[in-house]
Subunit: 564 residues, 2 copies
């Protein structure tokens, strides 16, 4: 632990920089720490079998007594999804707007099967400020693809820090709550030390379209659809849900929801008043199935082609309640997250095969982004006039584009903090310096376990996936060093053994010969013996068929006295 000087502000990202996902930012000053967001990341194909990735919070654990609270900017998984794991380690108060806390609370109950009373979840009013230690946190509303998102203006002993949250500037938002640019203008006039800015769309020129544009497209689609309509979108995009429901009402259709997260989030949004549905509109899928198809809209999960999601199952004909039939219109009201392109394309293909008319991005504006494009970022910079900027919510190239963009607006390269995960950036007397590094990185979650799947395990999984596995079993008498049984060879994911017995038999001979060349001392050295087996077998297999399966030698010792 570094002992920092009085009134020095440390800014330490534990995630969300040089990556999109697992957002978590630590602010530390004197004896106080506050944390902004506690998000998870969904793994890439390089992390086979991993369900989720969360930030390493070792630093927070070892400074537990300083942590005054966690502030959530909005309710997306990459901002709140790690909360239950974090609270297991440091049970500190959590603050957020009404919908954000509502969603976070549901997830806590989901994961921990505990009452949310075990935690301190606090709903903030964005008009009020929040005092946590030496930090005064003010909020400003932002527009995003989930309602009730906020950015933060944090007064610290070292100066004012503005955190954009995830944002876009929607001049015609669905809920009429435009982004509070007036507050930003005010902060800018007071003087902003540091602006932490969402850079997701910094590669995109111009402005991100208003959410209302999608509403217009939906009306046209509803106008032209003669039978059932099925719309998929992100469950948390409550404004999109509202617009689909509005279109349904306008065209005399009832609405049913499919998919667990769709139902969960809609319930939270309804309870908290973020979603307005006339009382007779919403019904169960089974009820909707009894209506004429032209009277029905189904809103469903599965916009990313996720294997278990409702729309994916519908597209494969395996959804119990919804069978896609010719004449159905399916609207994919979402963009594939990078990496999901093929899954989404496959879902679209399967829906077409079932005779549906599929409406997706090639057909018009059925989706808009929730993140600011270049011109919106420029507005923020001009309003806030920050001394330093820290790009977040982007990969490395986003930092570069952001640095180029702000350079054009008078912020020098040296004032752009290209922070990496775990770096401690210290601000004192309006100056910044890198003050070291804290423990940080990725913790993998797989099933119920968190942190027990590490690099070696993942490397082994990848290696087996690429090339399969060959197991060699020997039974040796430890007293005499004689081979009692084996070598037996079993493989998985390698080649069809039955059709390649010749190769297997040759391999056995190779190993037997190699064993015969070893003396008792060498045989007794199990590690050496295993290495010899791996070496002789892998070079034989590569020579024969140019493959490199993982080779797993198992040497079992004969123990005369045991029996079942």
């Amino acid at each position: 632990m570094t002992k920092s000087r009085k009134n020095t502000l440390s800014v330490i990202p534990l995630g969300g920089v040089t990556e999109i996902g697992k957002n978590m930012l630590v602010l530390e000053c004197n004896d106080d720490i506050i944390v902004v967001d506690a998000g998870l990341k969904f793994p890439t194909e390089e992390l086979p079998g991993v369900d989720l990735v969360i930030p390493n919070i070792a630093y927070l654990k070892s400074n537990k007594e300083k942590v005054r609270g966690i502030i959530l900017t909005h309710g997306h998984e990459d901002h709140v999804g790690a909360l239950s794991f974090v609270l297991d380690e440091i049970n500190v108060p959590v603050y957020g707007t009404s919908l954000t806390v509502g969603i976070a609370g549901t997830k806590l109950m989901d994961r921990n099967k505990l009452d949310k009373g075990d935690y301190s979840l606090n709903v903030i009013n964005p008009e009020d400020s929040l005092q946590l230690g030496c930090f005064t946190i003010n909020f400003f509303r932002v527009n995003h693809s989930i309602p009730d998102g906020v950015g933060l203006a944090i007064e610290t002993p070292a100066g004012l820090v503005v955190h954009s949250g995830d944002f876009k500037i929607d001049q015609t938002p669905v809920d009429g709550r435009v982004m509070e640019l007036n507050k930003l203008a005010h902060y800018g006039d007071r003087g902003v030390l540091l602006f932490i800015c969402d850079t997701t769309n910094v590669e995109k020129p111009g402005y991100t379209l208003s959410e209302k544009v999608v509403g217009e497209t939906l009306k046209i689609i509803f106008e032209r659809s003669e039978r059932r309509i099925i719309v998929t979108t992100f469950a948390s995009n409550v404004h999109r849900l509202q617009q689909i429901i509005n279109a349904a009402v306008a065209y005399g259709r009832k609405v049913a929801l499919a998919g667990r997260s769709m139902i969960n989030i809609a319930n939270v949004a309804l309870d908290l008043g973020y979603l307005q549905i006339p009382s007779d509109i919403l019904l169960e899928v089974t009820e909707a199935n009894k209506l004429p198809p032209e009277k029905v809209v189904i809103i469903t999960t599965g916009s990313q082609g996720e294997p278990a999601a409702a729309l994916t199952r519908m597209s494969q004909g395996t959804h119990r309640q919804v069978k896609i039939v010719s004449g159905d219109t399916v609207v994919i009201s979402a963009s594939p997250i990078p990496g999901n392109e093929r899954l989404v394309a496959r879902t679209i293909d399967n829906l077409f095969r079932l005779g549906a008319r599929v409406v997706y991005k090639v057909d018009g504006t059925v989706h808009v982004s929730g993140h600011a494009s270049v011109e919106e970022i420029k507005i923020m910079i001009n309003l806030l006039k920050p001394k330093y900027v820290l790009p977040f919510h982007g990969e490395y190239r986003h930092k570069i584009h952001f640095a180029n963009l702000v350079a054009n607006m008078g912020i020098p390269e040296s004032h752009v903090i290209k922070a990496e995960c775990g770096e401690r950036w210290e601000f004192q007397r309006q100056k910044v310096a890198l003050g070291g590094k804290v423990a940080a990185g990725e913790i993998m979650g797989d099933g119920l376990g968190i942190g027990d799947v590490g690099n070696i395990v993942l490397h082994d999984r990848q290696s087996m996936a690429e090339n399969g596995l060959v197991v060699v079993v020997l039974v040796i008498d430890p007293n005499t060093g004689t081979l009692i049984s084996g070598p037996d060879i079993v493989s998985r994911g390698f080649i069809y053994i039955r059709e390649n017995m010749e190769l297997v038999n040759e391999a056995k001979i190779i190993i037997s010969k190699m064993l015969a060349s070893l003396d008792k001392r060498q045989l007794d050295n199990r590690l050496y013996l295993k290495k010899c087996i791996i070496k002789s077998l892998s070079s034989f297999i590569f020579k024969k068929i140019e493959r490199k399966p993982m080779i797993l030698p198992i040497i079992t010792e004969y123990c005369e006295k045991r029996s079942i």
Copy 2:
């Protein structure tokens, strides 16, 4: 084998329909078969460890004596890449234009380490026609992202079949050879029975931009680059290479090539006159390194972020000859093939990290497609006026978009043949009917082996990748049924065993107890015993940590007489 009626034309796709890749189309009439293209497909992430996928040609093998030849439309891997495997099975004459045959020949030598004299590779002149059995094949030049591509107009006893090949209509092609629309007009007037059309870009409205647009962008980039320029593109995009070289000449730079396939294809294209390079321009990378950076352009492979490609290694600092330094300009003159987005993004990020200025699609038209957009497809339909159409080179949704497009132009749904791989479509007296199905599908290649990696092997690989593997070893005395050694448990890709010894020990007890509950008859039934082990262990592990590793029981028998 179906005995077809006289002068009935069978059209049988063995690949390239409902997929992008492994293009192969069989035309059969009377006792003659011709094959159009012999392509491979690069595997998706669902085929772990598979290097390539080729069409199943069982039908051609069992009709070997009928096959009159293989006609190649152009030199891309998805059209010529399976040739060596096909010729191993049926060594028939191959026909193509000069560059296509040049590239195919190089690949044959690469793969088979044989002299290409063993095969009959024939260069056709697109002005001449080719008689193969009852088929007369005429050629028309098309524009594409490789030079010397052709489409085919095949006179058959059942009528005229036009095959577009992969095409776009470039009104200002780099080599000045515009697509021969005049020939198409002529065929259209004669009457076209069937038009087989490239649908890759049928989702894209308007026209595909001319290759020359990229040349203009390159000139601007060269104008503004003060130090070394590195450009990556598909090696086979010879016109792109030509434009890069032209820009280099215009701005006084020398050119070096990096990456094996770049050098190979450039050599073939140079030899055959498809690439014009002033004699003093081309040099080795090691020579280029001695020049001032502002005098150098390096053209390299790696536009898809392929792990072993030259640019990828440069971006990781592991390329022996090219070290990226601050001030270098790197141009990614290609689009990511769907599925490669993340690899390409990572390469861009790594290049930025090394200080390079990276110019890619967000910065302007550094790449254009080689496939026709909607308006170009419409031109083809209007010129050819085909009775039937068969969409190829697309996934399922492309067929639907194509059907909608031609419906607007007067071709009824029933005349759009949505052929699947292996379907035999029979044409007789201007009518078409589905006449059955031949063996068809995917053959997987991994290392030197072709066809020995099948569904079970792939399923095992995926399963191990997702969840890891747990091996249980028992040594049993076959005479008494007693357990001599074990159960031993070894795992790979599961969890860290050393840190989870408790779980392992519990698992051993579970298995031992289960074994104790079996009688000798049950123990002797090895299959039953294995099932019992899998069942008890997997339910234990799932209960404990909610994971489902593959469980591999190995039962070894004790054989007293053997020794090393």
